[in-house]
């Protein structure tokens, strides 16, 4: 089975080096693979799908006006990273989140970084995620982005690069936890001897960090969900359950004298901290989208008066869009006076005519993205596009060039997956989760490894044929 494995060309494979031998990190796992017939692996694969289904670890997709529940495809072979490499990622993410937090504080207060000309001011003022309501508002412990997910990829040079930062309501952490649960069932002999760093304490760390935001023995913390029909509902319910906090919907909340209360069978109960999993836009119909019924009218005013804490803080979207991404290395040197530990991907601003021309001339090596896009939509992959697709895309770009950026197409590293009864390489990224609070920044060792299950695809998003793997960070 291993001998039939054909690597992608010019791609870093997580398991095999260029000469085709197994990397040290995977040595222990290789011995497992060698003694396990493919039939057993396929049984394990079925077992895991059934387990996800039975446990209701599903998301709802809508087709033909009918809601169908699907599982997020899971490949049983773990993606393995060694601890020495992880330490670099860990330090890099902490550095990055620290700088981004300082940037958010600066952007919503004095705006030194713009005044000093490090970042063009219009990037802030034109940003639709910029919230005037956040200006000059002191947030508890100066923490804006309590929960962050940083998407990393490994290029064919073997280094990790940051693909994007997710500072609003990043999701996927429940899959990190579920995948590990399943791995334990799948590898009862292998797990205990593999020295895998634990991720299961994520809910405890998160709870501690949230609790650290108020000076109270037993604060009332709730998780605000858009409800049962949201695609990430499973995650909301799981996190609430694992932290032992209430899972609330907008309808469960009321305001009294700018304090937020939830309606319980025993009357109203005051809430101190809201970990919201709804977007800024839907948070408060009085301030933002007036059609929204998901949030609570007037909650922004409560927040501004310091009567409730909203996590993540509203307005963090200014720091994680694709245009601002370019400047994160500058933020790191500006605020921390440090060299970035994790590299950014070279990014071209299409509002700059020279760069636009360069991208146009080298389009077959480029991916062009909308700065406000997400989920893998609205992109042009230059290597797969026809001439007419490229022309019409550039026509669109020329109307609002500041809304687009381009990056060289990187080859995401590949990992072996079980596809059609054999081992086959698929591209993978990594989203570790960082939690910031009064106790500093904590990063869970590992994260969510997303794989592009389509052959040669680089798109790992779950909405477009992506799946996931458990991520093992193992001690050296």
């Amino acid at each position: 089975m291993i001998s039939n494995y054909t690597k992608y060309p010019n791609t870093w494979d997580e398991m095999f080096d260029d000469s085709g031998s197994i990397r040290n990190t995977y040595k222990n796992f290789e011995s497992f693979l060698k003694r396990t017939p493919i039939e057993t692996l396929l049984q394990m694969q079925d077992f895991s799908s059934q387990l996800f289904m039975d446990h209701g670890v599903t998301f709802r997709v809508y087709s033909d006006n009918k809601g169908v529940e699907r599982i997020f495809p899971f490949d049983i072979l773990p993606r393995i990273i060694n601890e020495s490499e992880w330490k670099i990622i860990d330090a890099g993410i902490k550095q990055r989140i620290k700088a981004l937090n300082l940037f958010l504080k600066d952007a919503y207060h004095e705006q030194f970084i713009f005044k000093d000309g490090v970042i063009p001011h219009e990037l802030l003022l034109n940003n639709k995620n910029f919230l005037r309501e956040m200006m000059n508002l002191r947030v508890p412990n100066d923490v804006y982005t309590h929960i962050s997910g940083v998407d990393l990829i490994r290029n064919n040079d073997g280094d990790f690069y940051v693909l994007e930062d997710n500072l609003r309501t990043p999701s996927g952490v429940s899959y990190m936890l579920e995948n590990r649960q399943i791995s334990r069932r799948l590898y009862p002999n292998l797990m205990p001897t593999s020295n895998v760093l634990p991720v299961d304490n994520y809910p405890e760390i998160l709870y501690q960090q949230l609790k650290s935001l108020v000076d109270k023995e037993d604060p009332e913390i709730v998780l605000l969900t858009p409800g049962l029909y949201n695609s990430a509902y499973y995650e909301h319910a799981a996190l609430a359950r694992l932290m032992g906090i209430e899972l609330v919907e907008g309808n469960d909340l009321v305001l009294d004298n700018h304090h937020v209360f939830m309606k319980t069978a025993g009357g109203l109960k005051k809430i101190d901290i809201i970990y919201r999993r709804i977007d800024d836009d839907y948070l408060d119909p009085l301030n933002f989208n007036s059609e929204s019924v998901l949030g609570l009218a007037g909650i922004m005013e409560s927040y501004r008066q310091g009567k409730v804490i909203i996590v993540n803080a509203p307005g963090t979207g200014i720091a994680d869009d694709k245009a601002m991404y370019v400047y994160v290395p500058d933020m790191i040197s500006y605020y921390l006076n440090e060299e970035p530990i994790l590299k950014n991907i070279r990014t071209y601003q299409l509002s700059n005519p020279d760069e636009r021309q360069y991208v146009y001339d080298n389009v077959e090596k480029m991916v062009i993205k909308e700065t406000e896009g997400s989920g893998g939509y609205g992109m042009l992959m230059g290597n797969n596009a026809t001439k007419s697709m490229i022309e019409s895309y550039f026509k669109k770009v020329s109307k609002q060039p500041h809304k687009y950026i381009a990056q060289p197409i990187l080859s995401l590293s590949s990992v072996p997956c079980i596809i059609d009864n054999e081992l086959s390489p698929r591209c993978v990224d990594l989203r570790p989760f960082a939690i910031s609070g009064a106790n500093g920044i904590k990063v869970c060792p590992g994260g969510l490894s997303r794989v592009a299950l389509k052959e040669n695809s680089l798109v790992v998003n779950s909405s477009q044929g992506g799946g996931s793997k458990d991520t093992w960070v193992i001690k050296d």
Binding site: D54, E246, D252, A265
Partner: protein, 311 residues
């Protein structure tokens, strides 16, 4: 506990209980058609349970099979078994952090079983009683799992409110269907058929035989369904349970407005001091409408006391 969560827990158990009643009724009625060859009895179930009021002609065994299939699986009727389990599971999904993981797994397995792609073919290929028994097993597992894994807090009490309220409503409905024609002093053979079936469908047949031997009189049946202390589906038993859980909820939540507790306590005591002779004196019809109106009131007050804020 959030009012919404409490309300969903209440309905989760109500739907499971209702589905349980429906499944038993299907079984019993199917059996009775095998005995009597009277297939029109399906019309009663269709109208009381599924709100299908137009009278249909059912003539043979195949009609029975297709109507059972309809009662179990019709996706467009909100009261079919399928839709009740979907709703029970939807409620469970929205309160996952408040029920034991085992209970969630059992509801979810029920849901996966009933929504499985091959389920209709499975129905066609199997004996209908066996098929329904397989479904009933999921209900039994649900009750057992709830019993041994669910902590005795708010959630458990709200689930029990739903369960016993639904149960008592069902028991009363069962009797009412027949109450108009009931003549406590003048028995006939058809009555005894009916009562046997009724007892079987609510699982009281064995207990009845033990207590009254094989003598089927309306009076005895009524006494058992309404007043028996140990029959878990009797009105008195269910009302006692409702009282216990409401009292606990008052304690857990520090409630001071005693209206609901007062009403359920009063009804409980009234039933505890009622004999079958009292009911005969009062008239079965009057007695049933009294209980029904009390239940309506209690149900309204449960809503007002615990869930009112959601409206």
């Amino acid at each position: 506990m959030l009012s919404r969560v409490a309300n969903n827990l209440f309905w989760m158990d109500r739907y499971v209980e209702r589905s349980y009643g429906l499944l038993n009724l299907i079984k019993t009625n199917f059996n009775s058609t095998l005995d009597s060859g009277d297939y029109s009895s399906w019309n009663n179930i269709l109208s009381t349970y599924l709100g299908v009021d137009e009278f249909k002609q059912f003539e043979n065994y195949n009609d029975s099979l297709s109507i059972i299939k309809f009662i179990l699986f019709d996706p467009s009727n909100a009261n079919t078994h399928l839709n009740m389990i979907i709703k029970a599971r939807e409620n469970a999904r929205s309160v996952q952090e408040h029920i034991s993981k085992e209970l969630w797994l059992s509801v979810n397995k029920y849901y996966l079983h009933i929504t499985n792609d091959g389920i209709l073919e499975k129905f066609d290929d199997n004996d209908p009683i066996n098929f329904v028994d397989d479904l009933l097993l999921f209900n039994h597992i649900y009750y057992s799992v709830a019993d041994i894994t669910q902590e005795r807090g708010n959630a458990y009490c709200f689930m029990n409110l739903g369960k016993y309220l639904e149960r008592v409503v069902q028991s009363i409905d069962f009797i009412s269907v027949r109450a108009d024609k009931m003549d406590l002093n003048n028995e006939n053979i058809y009555e005894s058929f009916f009562w046997k079936n009724l007892l079987a469908s609510i699982g009281g047949y064995q207990l009845y035989l033990k207590k009254y031997k094989s003598i089927f009189s309306s009076e005895n049946v009524l006494e058992m369904i309404v007043l028996n202390d140990n029959f878990p589906r009797s009105v008195r038993y269910s009302i006692n349970k409702l009282y216990i859980h409401i009292e606990r909820l008052y304690k857990f939540n520090g409630l001071t407005d005693n209206n609901l507790l007062f009403r359920i306590g009063k009804l409980k005591n009234q039933l505890n001091y009622t004999t079958i002779d009292n009911i005969k004196q009062e008239g079965i019809h009057n007695f049933l409408s009294f209980i029904q109106s009390e239940l309506k009131d209690i149900s309204y007050n449960i809503n007002k006391t615990f869930f009112y804020q959601i409206q």
